[in-house]
């Protein structure tokens, strides 16, 4: 599917997020730019500490304003949202942008029923009677695939299974028909058979309601299954972005190669060894101006100590000094044809 003709819903430009810590400011997100079009699923993939969750939380204004400095430009439906007051932001969050968090147990309060919590969210944004809000809650629970929504609406979170709780959180995020759903590792806490159901649900929601979705995940399999476009984050930067198909066929950045080589295949010949990436990701206070991946990169060179250039190839772009045809030749030394989709 291509979304070129659809209008841009969310545009992020040069987003930089720094935290004040005891040891001075630490930059967790550096100069991150991406956009999401209406009805599109963008996946931000990265390992822990790569800055993917911080990116999301700060563009939603969910960061601690006292200790966090957010720079850059974020516009939602053409309107800058970084400088909005907390009150103005609240009228967008929950109504136009829905959030699905990783752990449904912490997203739900244990002391109220699911129905009460969904109704509260609806009534925060719409003038609607309690009875009507409850009726909406039952409908929403049905839409996200709870088998008995009439009954589930009066259940407390602890009475539901993990998969059902995650569906309840998704129902809540959907309650005001948001144009954009932001999902932070929505299936990480779930078993694979339940994960498959929830991913299926997200795809159906996009189809039925046209919601755009930003899906944060560390799972390349999930990305390949649902995303239209991908942004790979490493050490606070988006090191590669592009359409999913192209990215799995010909990943540009050596970090993406390493990620793909690290995943054992489920079919075909087994590998004698996985192609792991040596070392470990840097902590945010250890990242300089140069390429954050250079210390672990087999192809690093002197130029990598400086800020890496953004190179574009077709629908793809990568922050890396490598150029064709050298890049393709090096990729062949890392990934075999079978390992590329």
């Amino acid at each position: 599917m291509t979304f070129v003709e659809k209008p841009i819903l969310l545009d992020v430009n040069g987003l930089t997020v720094a935290f004040a810590t005891d040891r001075g400011p630490v930059t967790a997100v550096r100069d991150v730019s991406f956009s999401v079009r209406e009805g599109e699923i963008l996946s931000i993939v990265g390992e822990s500490g790569s800055g993917k969750s911080v990116t999301l939380l700060s563009l939603l204004g969910l960061h601690d304003r006292k200790t966090t400095r957010v720079n850059g430009m974020v516009s939602f439906r053409g309107r800058g949202i970084l400088d909005l007051s907390p009150g103005e932001l609240r009228s967008i969050r929950g109504r136009e942008i829905g959030l699905i968090s990783q752990d449904p147990m912490t997203a739900l309060t244990p002391v109220y029923t699911i129905g009460w919590q969904i109704a509260e969210q609806i009534r925060a944004h719409e003038r609607i009677s309690a009875r009507a809000a409850r009726k909406r809650a039952v409908e929403l629970l049905g839409e996200v695939g709870l088998s008995n929504p009439q009954e589930a609406v009066d259940r407390y979170p602890h009475q539901l299974s993990g998969g059902m709780r995650q569906r309840a959180v998704i129902a809540m995020a959907l309650s005001c028909n948001p144009a954009l759903l932001v999902a932070d590792e929505p299936t990480t806490a779930l078993d694979v058979t339940v994960q498959a159901q929830v991913l299926d649900l997200l795809l159906r929601l996009r189809k039925d309601f046209g919601s755009a979705i930003i899906l944060i995940t560390h799972d390349m399999g999930v990305v390949s299954e649902v995303a239209d476009r991908v942004a790979v984050m490493y050490a606070g930067r988006i090191v590669e972005r592009g359409e999913t198909e192209a990215m799995f066929e010909s990943p540009l950045h050596p970090y993406s190669w390493g990620l793909m080589g690290s995943i054992p295949p489920l079919a075909g010949p087994r590998l004698a060894r996985l192609k792991s990436i040596p070392g470990m990701p840097p902590t945010p206070d250890r990242i300089g101006e140069g390429c954050g991946f250079a210390p672990r990169c087999a192809f690093a060179r002197a130029a990598c100590l400086e800020r890496p250039p953004l190179r574009k190839i077709g629908t793809q772009a990568a922050l890396c000094v490598l150029e064709e045809p050298e890049r393709a030749a090096l990729r062949r030394t890392v990934l075999s044809a079978e390992e590329l989709a």
Partner: protein, 342 residues
């Protein structure tokens, strides 16, 4: 209430298939129950069958992958095999010696041969003790080395798991997750065990680091002739490391078989659905997904008949009435299903 089928060991097939090879560890109709919701009132509480009459052999030099979703009982089974849990029924033997009810003293020689690696290395390492002390304690408890021999062995262990020797004097918090898991592995290796039961040893790690640890497991098996029981929910990782796989569902083994064959042609509908549910970056779009409805039922109240019958797309009436026994489908494959897939 237990169907009569389960009272007799479902192991005739595995014994026949393995006559040429003596198992290192052998479980017959192993049962582990927990009582939940007990109050002061006598007789209150309900019994949860976490491991429900499981029979299983672990052969020397193999890596047996134990897979299943949360609540399948795979971790409980792992802890029964290492006798971290007391066993409530059936028998467990190690090298032919019955250890089902052995007490701590009788278990000590077995502990030298059977070690465990845990999921969360930060929870299984004492934060107040240096790596040196953690590892040396094991050597002293089992009187494996003395004096200068201990130091020598510590250095060997660090080399084995790929950690720098000077890290011996560090505390666990000074390490990353992957390094901490290497320490957990070094501790298990310290006593030169024959069998290692690893419970989700890589699931807390990021993919790039996970691959390093998976490779380390493979390297160590070759260098030290180890036998592994590798418990994990990630089927791709299990495929990478295992020579044989057992699939668990609600406290029972539903299928076992040689890894490549089992992944290529699953015989149990649950195995098939589980495999189809995994999103895969390789070979994307080339497979058909079987979307199971619902979730794994509560082990407190398992379905009658086949435990998978409530979610099985192929279930018939008999599946809801009679619990299928794990039986040989071929020399390499056992399956507990009335209608195994062709």
């Amino acid at each position: 209430m237990m169907p009569p089928d389960l009272s007799k060991p479902a192991s005739a097939a595995s014994e026949a298939a393995s006559a040429s090879d003596t198992p290192l560890m052998s479980a017959r109709s192993l049962v582990k129950t927990f009582t939940v919701g007990r109050t002061l009132r006598p007789g209150s509480g309900r019994t949860l069958h976490a491991v429900d009459a499981i029979s299983l052999d672990v052969f020397p030099a193999e890596t047996l992958g134990l897979v299943g979703e949360s609540g399948s009982g795979k971790s409980t089974l792992g802890r029964c095999l290492t006798r971290l849990y007391d066993i409530d029924g059936g028998t467990l033997t190690f090298e032919g010696v019955d250890i089902t009810r052995a007490d701590a003293r009788a278990l000590k020689p077995m502990r030298r041969n059977v070690q465990m690696i845990f999921q969360d290395p930060s929870a299984s390492l004492n934060p107040r003790r240096r790596v040196r002390d953690v590892l040396a304690e094991v050597l002293k408890v089992h009187r494996i080395r003395e004096g200068a021999g201990i130091e020598q062995r510590l250095l060997e262990l660090m080399d084995l798991v790929g950690l720098r020797r000077e890290y011996l004097d560090r505390y666990p918090h000074e390490f990353s997750g992957g390094q901490r898991q290497r320490i957990g592995i070094a501790r298990a290796l310290a006593v030169e065990p024959k069998l290692i039961v690893a419970d989700e040893p890589v699931s807390a790690l990021d993919v790039s680091v996970q691959a390093q640890i998976v490779n380390l497991f493979s390297d160590l098996r070759e260098r030290l002739d180890l036998t592994y029981v590798f418990i994990a929910h990630d089927l791709a990782v299990v495929r990478q490391v295992s020579s044989r796989v057992a699939v668990m569902y609600l406290g029972s083994i539903v299928e076992t078989g040689e890894t490549d064959a089992l992944y290529a042609r699953p015989s149990h509908p649950y195995t098939q659905a589980l495999l189809s549910a995994i999103p895969q970056p390789h070979n994307r779009g080339s497979r058909e997904r079987i979307l199971l409805s619902g979730e794994i039922p509560s082990p407190l109240d398992p379905p009658t008949g086949c435990k998978f019958s409530t979610r099985c797309p192929q279930a018939q009436d008999i599946c809801r009435q009679v619990r299928p026994v794990l039986a040989a489908l071929s020399t390499e494959r056992q399956v507990a299903c009335h209608f195994p897939l062709g």
